[in-house]
């Protein structure tokens, strides 16, 4: 049987599947809602910048006993703290009576953390020692305590700089404020990205989510679709037709791919329209990559379909596999953050390369020459899986 006939049969099967999908209005609505939820979830819940926390209720106690009845040091500290805070609105400062009082407030949930200026604060500074400030944290919420720590250390940093600047200017009155700053802090960091604009967390996740949803859609859709036809009995109708067995999988895969790409397109539209993601590279390349991603995955889907007895088992198997893949492929968290063994697992998943390549194209505007490694791995993965899947599928069909 010729290739042309095989292809033409598979197109008919795909067309039939798409027609069925189109007639299933409820399924169609879900098809659109799923990526919408996915995007909304990731877009709104995940932090979009470095510091997202704002207006954290924090209690402060000034127990400073002063030095020779002067509490200038602690007053200055509080003034600077409030000045910085008024710019960023990170904390909502309230005054507490004592350290014990703060602990109570935290336990009752009135505040998220506390700052205590100990009684020897001014005295220490005046006698040439370091001034210590105690932070009381809520251990049940590590993120908030990190935020407070970061904030306080930047307050100290700024205060130290200010005091050093004053000291320098006191030594030599001809030095200007800017010059003194250069003396105190000779180095300064300036961040510059490859592309203009300030990419947020969403720019990081959007390509990954696209890759994930498209592949998940095909991976779960294919076993479900095939085992459903087996259960209902319609598969027999195709099996008794004088067509190549290959056109059945090909057609089914094609139908599912169209469904998956449709979802990918919805995500793309949402990402650009609702979350301000900009696509630097070519959109054609984006879709080409999604297709390649599907190709790399489809073999695995077919193997699972062949082994699963019914639709339920197939879907469960698929979900079990998809879940770790979601988290290990560097879609939500950079792979570099993971321990080495997890990184190794991550390197074995095709989704890792698909989302990496997609990210490079969408965020960095990379072209094909920049992502050849990813492409090669995806093609190899797909070829190997398909080589395994086709004979397995053929055997499954005539048991």
């Amino acid at each position: 049987m010729g290739t042309k006939a095989t292809l033409s049969h598979s197109f008919r099967i795909a067309w039939k599947d798409i027609l069925e999908l189109y007639r299933n209005k409820f399924g169609l609505v879900l098809l659109i809602i799923m990526p919408l939820f996915m995007m909304a979830m990731v877009g709104f819940i995940y932090p979009t910048g470095g510091s997202t926390a704002s207006n954290l209720p924090v209690a402060m106690v000034n127990s400073d006993a002063g030095f020779h009845n002067s509490t200038v040091a602690s007053q200055t500290f509080i003034a600077v703290l409030q000045q910085i805070n008024s710019k960023t609105d990170m904390m909502k400062l309230t005054t507490a009576v004592s350290a014990a009082d703060i602990k109570n407030l935290i336990q009752e949930g009135d505040v998220e953390g506390g700052i205590v200026i100990p009684s020897n604060f001014s005295a220490s500074l005046a006698s040439g020692k370091q001034g210590t400030v105690v932070i009381i944290t809520d251990q049940s919420n590590p993120q908030v305590s990190t935020t407070i720590e970061t904030l306080l250390s930047s307050v100290f940093n700024e205060m130290s700089t200010m005091m050093a600047q004053q000291n320098v200017q006191a030594l030599n009155s001809t030095i200007t404020a800017n010059e003194s700053l250069a003396i105190v802090q000779p180095y300064k960091v300036q961040t510059q990205g490859v592309v203009p604009g300030a990419p947020n967390y969403f720019d990081f996740v959007a390509p990954g989510i696209m890759a994930m949803v498209v592949m998940m859609s095909v991976m779960t859709g294919l076993p479900a679709a095939i085992s459903q036809e087996k259960e209902v009995g319609t598969m027999d109708g195709m099996m008794v037709a004088p067509i190549n067995r290959l056109s059945i999988i090909l057609g089914k895969t094609l139908g599912q791919t169209v469904r998956g790409l449709l979802q990918g397109l919805i995500i793309l539209v949402l990402a650009v329209g609702l979350f301000g993601v900009t696509i630097q590279g070519s959109i054609l390349l984006v879709f080409g990559l999604l297709l390649l991603g599907v190709f790399s995955f489809v073999g695995l889907g077919i193997v699972i379909t062949s082994f699963a007895k019914d639709q339920q088992t197939a879907t469960m198997l698929m979900t079990t596999l998809m879940f770790p893949m979601m988290f290990l492929s560097g879609i939500f968290f950079p792979i570099q953050q993971m321990p080495w063994y997890m990184q190794d697992i991550s390197k074995m998943l095709p989704l890792t390369y698909a989302s990496d390549a997609l990210r490079k194209v969408m965020v960095l505007g990379a072209g094909i020459p920049d992502i050849t490694t990813d492409l090669a791995i995806l093609i190899m993965f797909g070829a190997v899986m398909t080589a395994i899947a086709v004979p397995v599928f053929r055997r499954m069909m005539t048991r």
Binding site: A5, R12, L19, M239, V240, P242, T398
Partner: protein, 351 residues
């Protein structure tokens, strides 16, 4: 039906063997579903596979229609081997499965078009054939309605015409009247007969309903536990039971008890026995004095005979005679007895 067919020649002369089955065996693990089955089906014949659920009828059909591979043995259809030349076999056959091969979300026309397009039928021929087939089963009015909205009878008619899209030389029907009301069953039977008469289509039908087998089939193979236990025309099969000195009795006993049933069962003239309901027993007995001995046995146990009939054998009797158990409960004969005992107990208490 018109239109050019691209069906390969079957190379079988009229009356020759269209289907040859030799030592066909199918195992699923330790379970032997089809056990060394051999038979021939003549060209233009309606051939029945009769047996209870799980006897191996459907598996045999699936193997013959290339949907499953035999563990051992061979079979050929129209001279083509079902394993080696499966594509040629598929061009020759049509299958009406027990499950409806039909997509609920597509219309009648779309369904037929989809399945038809998988065969190499030119577009205009297919269009014409679809309208002819829909007309044939009076579904033209519903051609653009979703199959999901059809009644069971309509769906089964669709299911049958779907199998005819390629104008098959051999048609497999797996329990074609299952779950249909009597009228729809008659319609399907008439349709199958007409198809066989007018197109000379060879038909294999599996069924566990005696009526189907009796009214439809030229020859019947009785299958039990994966084996063919008898193969002949309906009339000849019945002669197995009623021939010679066998008598079929339907006995109505007002106070039928388990003891009484057991007493009848142990009579040496009684060849087989089955309980029809709480008061009626059907038995096959042999010998000239069968009537007397059965009546004596009942009366000796205090049984009150309410009615007695001498019946013509049915295929059910043939099956019972050949296998020692009924078609509807092949698994265990003891089950109706147990149930009867439970019914009897409270009755005694009332008295």
């Amino acid at each position: 039906m018109s239109g050019t067919t691209l069906v390969p020649p079957d190379n079988v002369p009229e009356g020759g063997p269209m289907i040859k089955v030799e030592n066909l065996t199918k195992r699923f693990g330790d379970f032997v579903a089809v056990d060394d089955v051999s038979f021939d089906v003549k060209k233009g014949e309606i051939f029945g596979l009769l047996g209870p659920n799980g006897a191996g009828k459907s598996t045999t059909l699936r193997i013959l229609s290339t949907l499953a591979k035999p563990t051992k043995g061979t079979a050929s259809i129209g001279g083509y081997d079902i394993v080696k030349d499966d594509t040629d076999v598929r061009k020759l056959i049509g299958i009406v499965s027990e499950k409806m091969i039909m997509y609920d979300r597509l219309t009648a026309r779309e369904n037929l078009w989809f399945f038809g397009s998988l065969f190499e039928i030119p577009g205009n021929v297919l269009t014409e054939r679809i309208s002819e087939l829909l007309e044939l089963v009076q579904l033209t009015k519903w051609k653009n309605a979703l199959v999901g909205t059809f009644s069971t009878g309509m769906r089964q008619r669709m299911n049958v015409v779907r199998a005819l899209l390629n104008m098959p030389r051999v048609l497999f029907l797996d329990e074609p009247t299952l779950g249909l009301d009597p009228q729809s069953s008659v319609e399907i039977r008439e349709f199958v007969k007409k198809l066989n008469r007018e197109n000379g289509t060879t038909i294999i039908v599996t069924t566990h309903t005696m009526v189907d087998a009796d009214m439809l089939c030229d020859r019947i193979a009785i299958i039990d536990h994966g084996k063919v236990v008898a193969l002949d025309t309906s009339a000849n099969l019945k002669r197995l039971v009623s021939g010679g000195d066998s008598t079929i009795l339907k006995l109505g006993v007002a106070n039928l008890t388990a003891d009484l049933l057991e007493a009848l069962r142990t009579l040496d003239c009684v060849r087989s026995i089955s309980q029809e309901n709480s008061t009626h027993v059907r038995l096959i007995a042999s010998g000239d004095d069968a009537f007397d001995r059965v009546i004596d046995a009942v009366r000796n146990r205090g049984g009150k005979i309410a009615s007695m009939e001498n019946l013509q054998p049915t295929l059910e009797d043939v099956f019972l005679h050949l296998t020692g158990h009924e078609v509807r409960d092949s698994a265990d004969q003891k089950i109706p007895l147990e149930r009867h005992r439970r019914f009897a107990a409270p009755q005694r208490r009332v008295r």
